[in-house]
Symmetry: C2
Subunit: 453 residues, 2 copies
């Protein structure tokens, strides 16, 4: 298995790089899968990567370029000449070439587009027009397309012609004279059919397809739902424009889930664990600043009750518990709701049902945790009325958590904002304010009526 590669070869490789032993470096790297070369790169210094990259032949280099992380890709591209870059891009499938060219400065993009094969260049220029996160943005134009009046043998000949340049053919798309999609034929049917049969007889005319404007998340859901490995992309008049293969969709799925995950944790989606400290600082600071603002909102609620705390200072000991538990409960609710929305399990019509459920769950968890908190507080030897306060405030705040944790993601969804964003900014403010207000507010009332010593 290629997995021993990473540990064994690095020292040897670094040594050969040091000696600038081109032949030996190529010898060592040539046997590796491009993914493994990309993985090796993560253990090399910048100059070392650039040196090794410069030795790779264009085909391998193009695959490596697609596998490395974004910052490395930028540096590698910057390290080579436009002519070399053109050669490398020329090796790529149209979807990958489009992604790379889209990131280049205008002048350089133009040079590369003029340098690569004119047919690919034309395709890439078309693809560049589609928004990145739609079916058009992730499709490739490489595919096997066949007229509906062709025979099985003619189709096989077409597959033969294309198989050199297109990996993962999986299936053939059948079109009419206007290049409108009329059906698909998986390769296994093609193998088993008699050569003289019309291809029309084999095709599945009800197979799945997606519109070019379909959101990539929706595309991913279609792949999962129908268990397919490739899907044709059509325009508004059913004309076949390209295809999407499952490897691109896997990246989309991972990207989309992590996006939610990151947003809920107040992170920029493009931060990575091995980023530099200054980059991480820059990316995180704005989010923390927003959190700071909401923390001050909560603090100003506490400020209103300074006199209450002055009278019974033990309140300050227990007030963070209620606010904190509200935050935890709200995070549970938001996470479940955001996941449901992301998977498409949760539609708007269920909003009321989920809201009622979350409020009930909040009440029940508030009551039970409230009882436990009250007992523990009592055992700590404080006034038993503080236990009662904890119990009541916990119920109030966990109901607030369930309510705001459901309603706010739905409102954001309604306004086409990202529901995952709600976590920190809005909902925690609700539960912090709710926690302090319910606990200290009730305490003030208790005090007023002489119930708190």
């Amino acid at each position: 298995m290629p997995d021993d590669v990473k540990t064994n070869n690095i020292d040897a490789l670094k040594d050969l790089i040091q000696k600038r032993d081109d032949v030996a470096v190529i010898g060592l790297v040539a046997s590796l899968h491009p993914s493994d070369i990309a993985k090796l790169f993560s253990s090399l210094e910048e100059e070392e990567k650039i040196y090794v990259f410069g030795l790779l032949d264009p085909e391998v280099a193009s695959n490596v370029l697609l596998e490395v992380d974004d910052p490395t890709r930028e540096k590698l591209i910057a390290s080579i000449s436009k002519a070399e870059l053109t050669e490398i891009v020329d090796e790529m499938a149209t979807d990958d070439a489009t992604d790379v060219i889209a990131e280049l400065p205008h002048e350089e993009a133009k040079t590369v587009l003029e340098g690569i094969d004119w047919k690919e260049s034309a395709e890439v220029q078309k693809l560049l027009k589609y928004p990145e996160d739609t079916a058009g943005g992730i499709m490739q134009t490489e595919m096997v397309m066949i007229k509906e009046d062709a025979t099985v043998q003619e189709t096989i000949d077409e597959v033969r012609k294309k198989s050199e340049e297109i990996p993962n053919i999986h299936c053939v798309f059948v079109v009419d004279d206007d290049t409108k999609l009329v059906g698909t034929v998986p390769l296994e049917k093609l193998i088993l059919a008699k050569p003289h049969l019309p291809i029309k007889d084999l095709m599945n005319s009800k197979s799945v397809k997606v519109g070019v404007d379909t959101d990539q998340e929706e595309v991913a859901r279609i792949f999962q739902k129908y268990d397919v490995v490739t899907v044709p992309v059509v325009d508004g008049s059913e004309k076949l424009l390209g295809r999407i293969t499952i490897d691109d969709v896997m990246d989309v799925i991972e990207e989309e889930i992590f996006e939610d995950f990151y947003r809920m944790a107040s992170l920029s989606t493009d931060e990575r664990v091995l980023d530099s400290a200054s980059r991480s600082f820059r990316l995180r600071f704005p989010w923390l600043l927003i959190n700071l603002a909401t923390a001050f909102v909560a603090a100003s609620v506490v400020k209103v009750f300074e006199n209450t705390i002055q009278a019974v200072v033990t309140l300050a000991v227990f007030m963070p518990i209620v606010a904190g538990m509200g935050g935890n409960a709200a995070t549970q609710t938001i996470t479940v709701v955001v996941r449901g929305l992301a998977l498409g399990e949760l539609e708007l019509k269920y909003a009321k049902k989920v809201l009622v459920k979350e409020v009930i769950v909040g009440f029940a968890n508030g009551a039970l945790n409230g009882v436990v908190a009250a007992i523990v507080a009592y055992l700590m030897g404080v006034n038993y009325m503080i236990g009662l306060l904890l119990f009541l405030a916990m119920i109030a705040n966990l109901v607030i958590a369930g309510f705001s944790g459901t309603v706010i993601p739905f409102i954001l969804k309604w306004y086409k904002a990202d529901p995952a964003l709600s976590a920190t900014v809005f909902v925690t403010t609700c539960t912090d304010v709710g926690g302090f207000l319910s606990f200290l507010g009730l305490a003030a009332i208790f005090l007023k009526y002489g119930m708190l010593g």
Copy 2:
């Protein structure tokens, strides 16, 4: 596109179900993809689902059963006789049949295993022995296996024989006399080859394979790395046991990411947004109780400083800010670290580098947010020394956040526990305790030296 299905048909369907119009219900449902039927089910009452499910033929029913959510699956299985269940399971691929049978009570599982085709039964019994989250647990035994001395034509004949019962063949696995895997041949090569050629000439003998004990997360990573759609599974002596197809892997990827996501939010991984209130309550309560315990740990720190707060009650207003910001910063760090570990980007050798980085980021964010907090506090008209306290405590606590947010996930990983679990339980305790201790502890020192009024 099959997507209009969900909105249009439900009312009509419910109406027909009401009338118990079997023929019309089947007529309406028969044209739909099993995934769409499963989706329709989410809008039906329990009895309605059971009624419709009872009308489906075994093949469709088996596909629907695999697409519905877990609680619905349990109810549907409970609603039919053992004989019907046997018929339905008989239609499934071995990997799916294994998943369904694994969930059945012992007696029922036995009956079904005795009822289905004896060959499938034997395969399923073998598969039942592999742990659920390994290659063995997600593989199927349906595949096209061919001896290495076969010709292309013989291989095509074998594909023909198997293609009836096996969807998504994608490629053929070549084995020696001991059924040891020697190579793979993708279908497109088979189409294009001359019939009399030995299959050995076409095969790729260095293609990817996985060991039967490989963790499913690792399997998913291999699919992503090598952009393949099916992978053979072998035992310790390279004998071919089965294959994993990409559709199973997509589920794994989604499952694994959501698992981290859920664990970080203190949720059980099997909770769903449309679960009942009592189920959600049961699943969430234990997690909240753990959080309550950690909240009391933090509260007991505050309790130590009751006299300090009594002396300067404004401290109670600002102390939650420092603890809360620590929690937010720690969540950022943990999320980045957990993602890095999950994707395999973050290896142990980078631990020190990441730790240093996170401490620096914590320091920088602490200093900058601390300055802002100090200024805002000053503008709120409190003693400027409280601003200084906020500044110092913020730095201390964000450094604690960066440190514990990195170290704790690594320690958990080291002890083979889930790094995502660290979020709530350990790290928030660190930042709560750290926040209160640094802010109130410094305040106590300031007070002692007469620096706080």
